[in-house]
Symmetry: D2
Subunit: 122 residues, 4 copies
């Protein structure tokens, strides 16, 4: 079973795009998502931990995100979580990625004008 | 614990807006969301059941959705599910609602131009 | 896209089981799930709305739930939401169902002893 | 907003428990969760990527998980995702954690006998 996750956050790097070997466009961007939690002592909502993700994009979503998203914009991302260990000759680490099903601008923080793609989505 | 849910679907009615007694704008629209499932006999993804929701909007999200969303557009909605029985003198039924945390246009199906709100979100 | 949902609640009816025409066991039970929300005036968490669901079970999960679950027990259910209109000659309504991927007893409210099934899950 | 996530997987280390400075029990265990994806060439579901998580437990859930869970058992975990960078003098990395709301044994893979806690949950 996949681990579905929905994250609201901010685009931290402009999306990239390239044509993958598979023959369709792929891209990615970094997403920063900060928890809000209710602090009973302050009787107010306060910022908590910030989670960082690499959001992976495929096909029409890669194309449209590249056209539509800019660094600093608030978005909602839904997709499948991937936690991948990586290793080079010199270093190793953990990549926390979301393979996005879709993304939208966060309409609680602004307005958007939408243009439907002409063809069928890839 | 709330029942968080994320739904991709299509705006089935233009969003409404009104000023609630609480002193901030509220609105709603109908959302249609159709399952996709893999059919092994056809070896293809096919349409399944369509779920219908009333999406409830509050404060800045109600205002921005009213400005941004139109009937027929694809969206992603995330929020809390409410299943409410209702009853009038003549009839009774069940309302299936989402109290939206946020909404965005579905960028797998088109492009969007975003304009950040000037003030702090309500 | 399916609408995945995870719900914590209480088993409101003992699970049923029957052998479906498809040749594997199916069953269901009613689940009651009550929101908790933070009330700023009371400075405390209070009960909110109660959502009611019919939880549908298939194959080994139907068999094991029938053996393991009893009315009144707290559970966590994860699966896909189905909102189905229904109609008879006399009445119509809306069924709110979860096709369960899996279920477990809620270990924040008690302890459990687990016995792995001997065969492969159906 | 928190990033809610539900994960099915296997307990990879026996849960620990200790009394935190805050005055209530805390614990954790490692969880391994393997994707299943439909491979169209093979016309079958196959194993995909394995995600590893540290699951953090608090209060009654820490106590009951310590009593109930054993390495190798299948579980469903629901909670909030935390992606934390860490650094020592010698190394740095990324911790991928779930602050569990609750956990249950996966009843699609076995049966369970449940015992409600006598007191109110912590």
């Amino acid at each position: 079973m996949s681990q579905h996750i929905t994250v609201r956050g901010f685009v931290a790097t402009d999306p990239t795009i390239r044509n993958a070997q598979a023959g369709f466009p792929v891209g990615n961007f970094r997403l920063a998502a900060t928890d809000r939690r209710f602090d009973r002592e302050q009787n107010a909502w306060v910022d908590g931990n910030t989670n960082w993700f690499t959001v992976n994009l495929f096909r029409s979503l890669a194309q449209n995100a590249f056209t539509s998203l800019q660094k600093g914009q608030p978005v909602v991302v839904t997709g499948r979580l991937k936690v991948r260990p990586w290793e080079t000759e010199e270093r190793s680490g953990t990549a926390v990625e979301i393979e996005a099903d879709t993304i939208g601008h966060d309409l609680s923080l602004g307005t958007a004008t939408f243009q439907r793609s002409s063809g069928r989505p890839g």
